[in-house]
Symmetry: C2
DNA sequence: CTGATAACTTCCCTTTGCGTAACCTTCATA
DNA sequence: TATGAAGGTTACGCAAAGGGAAGTTATCAG
């Protein structure tokens, strides 16, 4: 007997709202079976949702995630899928490395601004160092 | 003779579009004089725009920037202004430090995924290491 | 006088990822 | 039988920062 879920159950299980799951369906990321009009999720659907959420956590757009997941269906050998995954992951890594640089630069600049401001305040007899 | 600018000129000078400058005016960030209906920008306005763009570059929202710039008018001693600046800058620094952590974590995870995928591909006789 | 520019205003469009009604149906229970 | 919990389907709204088109006016050159 496989455990199955309703939207609400699955949502609770995954820490998202039912709205989110329905939205993903709207975007073509999951396609649960229906019992009449009611959505029914299997453990495979759950696994798929977990993949989706992981992708999101790593900063991929739903579009990217979909593009990747769509290969699941088609590609039985998984070779193409892995290839695409690696490509996307490398792209994302590059992005994050750039972002890291940008953040570092901003941090440097902000610390400089902080120093100069505190300096200015000191000259005006104000102290914010303990705040 | 002070150099003055039209929207288009100032935009070109600052590397933004006129739309952007008008938008900032809409948001209450700048208030150039008018010659009839035509906007006229002085070097002070230009300086203000540069401040705005710098704030943006450092990741502040237009709302934050406005809140800060508004003190320019009121606060002649600049003490309050500097105080707010330091507070905002510190907040932003904290944000960026968090972001740095998150980016690092994602990078680690993505590199792990890349490794495992490449491994998988190797077992299937595919090589992507040179790509 | 007639374009051609350049300014102006107004307003809708875009992206991303849902939140939040509003309104309908169905089942189970008090 | 009334009602309330769950499920479903539109469909509008939000946030941020502008983009872009429409339609009007003003000015300058030929």
């Amino acid at each position: 007997m496989e455990k199955i879920y309703s939207v609400t159950e699955l949502a609770k299980d995954l820490g998202v709202t039912p709205r989110t799951i329905r939205f993903y369906e709207d975007q073509g990321l999951i396609l649960p079976q229906r019992a009449g009009t009611t959505r029914v999720y299997t453990h495979r659907d759950r696994a798929r949702m977990i993949l989706i959420l992981r992708g999101k956590r790593l900063g991929f757009s739903l579009k990217d995630i979909k593009e990747f997941l769509d290969l699941y269906v088609v590609d039985t050998t998984q070779v193409e899928q892995l290839r695409v995954l690696v490509t996307k992951v490398r792209g994302r890594i590059a992005q994050l490395e750039d972002q890291l640089q940008a953040v570092q630069t901003s941090l440097d600049e902000l610390r400089e601004i902080e120093r100069m401001s505190l300096d200015s305040l000191t000259h005006k007899g104000v102290d914010m160092n303990s705040v």
